[in-house]
């Protein structure tokens, strides 16, 4: 099956014309502008996404009404080379409280020149979510998550990154 052949990770590499320190700080400090805004677990409109730049830091969305929803934790913070954070959202784009059913994202920053940085992203252990989903598949139908994020497939962009 296609799924198995593709494994349980999503890997992306992108090269940016910026020094490694800047690339790292932009990702963490301007995370609000990077995270696609149509992805939030909040019930209200998203005010901002906050990435606390330290190990153990919280990653959360804040709504316009002040409500907050933490959906990740910083597991490794090693500027300017490496960043790892958890991904505590389930396939219905809701908070997963069982950490056994969460995945993680690692970013590695590699200086190709003093002004150019390669960023390697790996979102791994997706099968953990799969197990969680399998266990609740009877309830999948009642969730409205699917229709919400399916809209995103409508305008599939030609991938510029691999």
């Amino acid at each position: 099956m296609t799924t198995q052949a593709q494994g349980t990770s999503v890997r992306k590499t992108i090269v940016v014309e910026a020094p490694i320190e800047r690339a790292f700080s932009v990702f963490t400090e301007q995370f609000d502008g990077i995270k696609p805004r149509d992805h939030t677990v909040l019930a209200v409109e998203l005010a901002e996404s906050v990435f606390e730049p330290c190990e153990g830091g919280r990653v959360y969305d804040r709504g316009v009404d002040g409500s907050e929803c933490q959906w990740a934790r910083v597991l490794a913070y090693e500027p300017p080379n490496r960043l790892v954070f958890s991904w505590e959202l389930n396939p219905q784009w809701q908070i997963e409280s069982d950490l056994e059913k969460t995945s993680e994202v690692e970013l590695r920053f590699v200086a190709e020149t003093s002004e150019r940085t390669r960023v390697e992203l790996e979102h791994r252990n997706l099968d953990r979510h799969g197990e969680g989903w399998e266990g609740t598949r009877e309830g999948v139908g009642s969730e409205n998550g699917w229709s919400l994020y399916l809209e995103r497939f409508a305008d599939v962009v030609k991938p510029e990154v691999r």
Partner: protein, 105 residues
């Protein structure tokens, strides 16, 4: 090269998205889907075939019908949505990183 649809191309079609969304609500037979959508029964069957090849839906026989439901494995669909998420995020990241460089130079 053999054409093998992935989750992206499979869900790139609005009718297939509609079918998939309905199957996510609850398992259905071909006839039920055809009755709910402005699509003929053979067309629904063809769309289901693509969704099945992409690993997004599976079917099982119930009596003399086949009931289709979303693949409980889910990893394929999850991969597809995260794939799209990170493509968008990294494109925005590249723009931000390069813009910042220009501004400070």
């Amino acid at each position: 090269m053999t054409y093998r649809p992935n989750e992206w191309t499979a869900l790139g079609d609005p009718t297939r998205r509609a079918i998939f969304a309905r199957l996510a609500e609850q398992p259905r037979a071909v006839g039920e889907l055809a009755g709910e959508l402005p699509v003929s029964r053979p067309a629904v069957s063809q769309h289901l075939k693509v969704l099945k090849q992409a690993g997004l839906v599976v079917d099982r026989p119930v009596g003399n019908r086949r009931i289709y439901h979303v693949d409980p494995d889910g990893v394929g669909a999850l991969r597809a949505q995260l794939d799209g998420f990170w493509i968008k995020a990294l494109a925005a990241f590249k723009e931000a990183a390069e813009q910042t460089t220009e501004e400070t130079q």
